[in-house]
């Protein structure tokens, strides 16, 4: 493998659209960056902000949330709730010094393997440019004045709202 930095992205894919989009991308043999590791959830609305946080804390350099297009949610409007949380989460992570591009949201219906694939490529490039996240330093370390014992609960707090 080349010496360049290979980001690790955790992808939360909804069972009905995006996970199948990824299936289709594979079936169609569309080649894209192997940097995204997928976790299946029933609905993008199930993506608890804590999941994202957990992933970043566990060493992921980015998180991708993928769901059905608005209006096509298998559960009526779970994806709408997902985007609400997503916006809040982004705001909050920005305050903690995590760059915007590290958490992204994409709508990909079951027929849009190509969209998911290109999104993964795009995101991989962006994060490669940003370099590793290194949560402990960025968020908890001296990086932005937060301290482990203060930041941790604070983070949980915000995310549970």
């Amino acid at each position: 493998m080349s010496e360049q930095f290979e980001p690790v992205i955790v992808g939360f894919l909804c069972n009905w659209c995006s996970y199948r989009a990824a299936d289709l991308a594979g079936t169609a043999r569309i080649k894209y960056a192997p940097n995204m590791r997928s976790i299946r959830v029933m609905c993008s609305g199930r993506v608890d902000p804590q999941f994202v946080l957990k992933a970043l804390r566990q060493g992921a350099d980015g998180v991708l949330i993928a769901g059905c297009h608005p209006g096509e949610c298998h559960y009526v409007n779970g994806n709408i709730k997902a985007i609400r949380r997503f916006i809040l989460l982004k705001k909050m992570l920005r305050q903690l010094g995590v760059e915007e591009q590290r958490i992204q949201l994409v709508w990909a219906s079951a027929s849009e393997g190509i969209i998911l694939a290109s999104k993964v490529d795009e995101m991989t490039e962006q994060i490669r440019a940003l370099g590793p996240l290194n949560w402990n330093k960025t968020v908890l370390g001296s990086g932005n004045g937060h301290h482990d014992e203060i930041a941790e609960p604070m983070v949980e707090e915000v995310l549970n709202v």
């Binding site: 569309i30 080649k31 894209y32 190509i114 694939a117 290109s118 490529d121």
Partner: protein, 195 residues
């Protein structure tokens, strides 16, 4: 997502054409051979190959024959083919590319439009030496070079009227910043290469 032109292999004539066409991907590889271009072309009947046929020849790597064809020179850049192409191929731009390549390779001399580049070159001479041009004068000089006989026609025909109507200059105006312009063109020529 991966398209032919990005494969790791020696560039073919096809790639050459694609890479020398400005802007984004001209999508030449997408040609369906439907003939919408050849059907739409106002000078189609006079071309020795329709654009469609030319694209097939490019695919087949028939460089010689393609660059010798009069097709690019007979293109009047009306853009009908380009707006109608079902595959959104930048046909007109590709024909411009072929003109440039034909000149580089010199093949156009064997084409039935052998003096076409001559006209363009005359035109450019004016632009490069004055910064401005004027069709009629260009035409006159061009004909002096290539078919002096036509000049008679021009002088006796509308050429004269044009002069009388004050619609024709003898020399164009020279722009103030000519040196600057020439420097720009010089630099551009150095940079040359693919666009």
């Amino acid at each position: 997502m991966a398209i032919a032109a990005t494969l790791a292999r020696a560039p073919t004539f096809f790639d050459e054409v694609v890479n020398n066409t400005p802007g984004g991907d001209p999508h030449l590889e997408l040609c369906l051979q439907c003939g919408t271009c050849g059907g739409s072309c106002p000078s189609g009947p006079d071309m020795d190959h329709t654009p469609r046929a030319l694209f097939a020849m490019i695919n087949a790597g028939m460089k010689e024959q393609v660059l010798r064809s009069n097709t690019p020179w007979y293109c009047v850049s009306c853009y009908y083919c380009m707006v109608r192409c079902p595959q959104e191929i930048k046909i007109t731009d590709i024909l411009y590319t072929l003109k440039r390549m034909a000149i580089k390779e010199g093949n156009y001399r064997d084409s039935t439009a052998s003096d076409a580049p001559g006209f363009s070159e005359t035109f450019i001479d004016f632009v490069e030496n004055y910064g401005r041009s004027f069709e009629v004068g260009v035409a006159a000089r061009h004909h002096l070079r290539h078919h002096p006989l036509k000049m008679v026609g021009m002088a006796t025909g509308f050429g004269l009227d044009m002069l009388l109507k004050g619609r024709m200059d003898i020399t164009p105006n020279r722009i103030k910043g000519l040196e600057g312009l020439q420097a720009i063109l010089k630099k551009a020529k150095e940079l040359g290469g693919e666009a």
